[in-house]
Symmetry: C2
Subunit: 112 residues, 2 copies
DNA sequence: ATAATAGTTAAGTTTCCACTTGACTATTTT
DNA sequence: AAAATAGTCAAGTGGAAACTTAACTATTAT
C-alpha cells in the first residue's frame, strides 16, 4: 500500500472520529450491531444525516454494514481502530528514541 | 475531570490530527524540537498559517512550546498522544468483550 | 541606530462539513 | 393492493475551518 493511500486512510479515520456524533455511534456499535435508525435515535438528527454519518464511518473502515431487508445493520470493524493503533505506535516509536534528549528539555521547563 | 471535558480534549486531538499539514508537523516535531518557521518551510503556507496550526496543536495538548528570544520552539508533548492511546484502549476493551458474538456475525458474512 | 528576522494578531475570503428538505426506492405490514 | 417503514440520493443552507494579507511587536544582526 502506497504511503499516500495509507495517509488517506489515516486521514479519513481522524476525520471520522473528530465528530462527536460519530464517536458516540462507534461507541454504540461497539456493544452490538445496530440499524441506522437506532443510531439516529439518541441524537436529534434526521435519518438522512445518520445515513451520511454511517457512510463516512464505513468509508473510513471503522464499521462494516450489511443490508438485511429494508434495514441496514452497522457493526464495528476492528480493523479500523487497529489501523489507528498502528499509526499511534509508529509515532510513539519516533519520539521514544528521542525521549532522552526530550526529557532533558522537559526537566529544564518544569511548567506543567 | 468531567466526562464532557475529557470528551472535549479527545475531540480537539482528533480535530488536530485530521489535518494533513498538522500530522506532518507532529511527525517533524517527534524527531526533535523545531521553530515555527521550520515547521512552515516544507509546506507552501505563510508563517501566519503555521502559527495558527501550532496554536491549535498546543491547545490540543499534542505539543508544548517555548519562546526563546524571537523564536518559538515547538516540541512534542507525549501526554497528548497517550491521552489518545488511553481512549483507544478503552474502546478496544468495549468491543473485545463482545468479540465472541461479533466474530460469529463476521463468520456469517465472509465478504471482505 | 537601522535593518532584517521571527512571530503575532485581526480581518476578510474561500472551502469544507453537518445538516435539512424533498423526492424516490425497496421492503414489510395490514 | 394500499399504507407504513427504513433507507437512499440530490441539492441547498449555515457555520466552522484553513488560509491569506496587512499592520504591528519584539529580538537580533549590521
Amino acid at each position: 500500500m502506497s504511503r499516500h493511500r495509507k495517509d488517506a486512510v489515516i486521514e479519513s479515520i481522524f476525520q471520522a472520529l473528530a465528530d462527536r456524533t460519530r464517536r458516540q455511534m462507534i461507541e454504540r456499535v461497539s456493544q452490538s450491531p445496530a440499524t441506522v435508525s437506532e443510531l439516529a435515535r439518541p441524537f436529534s438528527i434526521t435519518l438522512a444525516a445518520a445515513v451520511q454519518h454511517v457512510q463516512l464511518l464505513e468509508r473510513s473502515g471503522l464499521v462494516r454494514t450489511e443490508k438485511q431487508g429494508r434495514v441496514r445493520l452497522v457493526m464495528i470493524d476492528p480493523a479500523g481502530l487497529s489501523t489507528l493503533r498502528l499509526w499511534l505506535d509508529d509515532r510513539r516509536n519516533l519520539w521514544e528514541t528521542r525521549l532522552d534528549g526530550l526529557s532533558a528539555i522537559l526537566r529544564e521547563n518544569p511548567k506543567r
